[in-house]
Symmetry: C2
Subunit: 287 residues, 2 copies
């Protein structure tokens, strides 16, 4: 795993037997923080590449599908999102998408590792373009503790933009955390969490996230699917949970009339992300 | 490109700066035919892997998305497909999907390379399960010549399941071939062709295929998008063309009531495949 001498950065998963390789020109940055190893590469065709502990986090060219599909579907499913919390998301790309919604009055980003945000500010300034928005607040602390301390019912939308469930992020995938999010959300509040690849992790992490959400108290759970070139298999998911209501319905007229730019998201791709492939039907019962 | 000494098969595209790597146990088969080099590997997690001229064609585990999304959308868009022709498709996986439709009276598969079919029969017998269907006819000859000789208006659906537009398949992507397909199709006939990755090839091959179809006489062109893990970027497309009519409409009640098994395809994923991401809107004007 890492940069070979042949000019390609390779991420391989021995257990899944699959890996991605990206052609790189050079390493721009390397740093060991108290939490993880940060690397930034310049690629030949994908802009800059952010790597944490050897895993591809994003490239300049492909991150739009992930960030848009984690942010906009949940924000257009909630009737009137005003108070948003992002757990993780240190690269600030999610914050940028959330800040595109004029109705959002406050967005708190809580990442445990300030080093990621500092590296993003330097190497991915386009992702950090909303960091100075007066509605945005960047905290660097433990997200699990932060959510536990939140006033009950004080949040409209919680976006969990974490790394894989190893290392610092492992606690973000369990029932206790989900219960804590459930408590922090208002009655019509929604959460969304990245839930890995439908073809790789349907019967493991994706199922476990959904189970943890239900065990944490959420009555409704739906999983969105969309392409993410930089992640294993290129096929990714996000799982949305709410205390009630039909999460397959969203504010289509608002989404269609949105006054901001997207590259992947629109009403059609939002609906498309809710489609359930045959092999997922047994698991994805709410949609 | 090929099997490294580290036990991984890697396909890299220098120009696109991206590649896929699959963990392999051993090479099961290698053969140089008059047209291309065939390799079959046993992988650790993806079943068997078919490689032509160094390019991943399919794995046992992931080929269902490609074969189903190339076959069923076009067959459920046509009002009553009876006479089907597959150009390419030597691995026989497309033929198997087509033969699932009881209304199809005849399906002719025309691949230039008999070696691919013989290798598939040996190493991917599950893809060849319909080869003995009395409605199926396997020809091994040049597909371009075959289509040119077809009686005008004699085909309902033409599926072009080719390799990339290099080597033996290059002629299958040009205007002359499209005009020849147009002539062979009945008035309500439809064609579909794999058109590579929306994120990699939107302004190159995908655009060129659509232009060639229109220049070849087709009035309507729509592009479907779906995941294919084994192909570059994991995000693939198929472009469907017809002489008229709305190709975004399909026989939903028939598709919903289909009496055969699929793993990806259903009415929801068919509709989802027609969704146009924002960055594709300028090109995909018919849908």
């Amino acid at each position: 795993m890492g940069q070979g001498e042949d000019g390609w950065f390779t991420e391989r998963d021995d257990d899944e037997g699959i890996g991605l390789t990206l052609r790189v020109r050079r390493k721009l940055h390397e740093e060991q923080t108290p939490y993880q190893r940060i690397e930034v590469y310049e690629t030949t065709s994908w802009g800059r590449l952010l790597v944490l502990d050897g895993y591809v986090m994003l490239t300049s060219r492909d991150n739009f599908t992930y960030h848009e599909m984690m942010a906009h579907p949940v924000l257009f499913t909630h009737p009137h999102p005003r108070r948003v919390v992002i757990i993780g998301g240190g690269d600030c790309g999610m914050l940028r998408e959330v800040m595109k919604h004029p109705g959002v009055e406050e967005c708190v980003q809580v990442d445990i590792d300030e080093g990621v945000t500092r590296a993003a500010e330097r190497w991915f300034p386009e992702l950090c373009s909303a960091n100075d928005d007066p509605r945005a607040h960047l905290l660097f602390e433990d997200g699990i503790e932060y959510v536990r301390r939140l006033e009950p019912g004080s949040v409209d939308v919680m976006i969990v933009d974490s790394t894989d469930p190893v290392g610092p992020a492992v606690g973000l995938f369990g029932k206790d955390f989900m219960a804590s999010v459930h408590r922090a959300l208002a009655g019509d509040g929604l959460m969304v969490q990245q839930s890995e690849s439908p073809i790789l992790h349907l019967d493991s992490l994706l199922r476990d996230v959904r189970t943890a959400m239900r065990d944490g108290g959420f009555a409704r759970v739906v999983t969105l699917q969309f392409p993410v070139v930089g992640y294993p298999s290129g096929w990714w998911s996000a799982t949305m949970a709410g205390k009630g209501g039909d999460l397959t319905r969203f504010r289509e007229s608002d989404a269609g009339a949105r006054a901001f730019t997207t590259r992947y998201y629109n009403c059609a791709t939002h609906r498309a992300a809710l489609a359930v492939p045959e092999f997922c039907r047994e698991l994805l019962t709410d949609q």
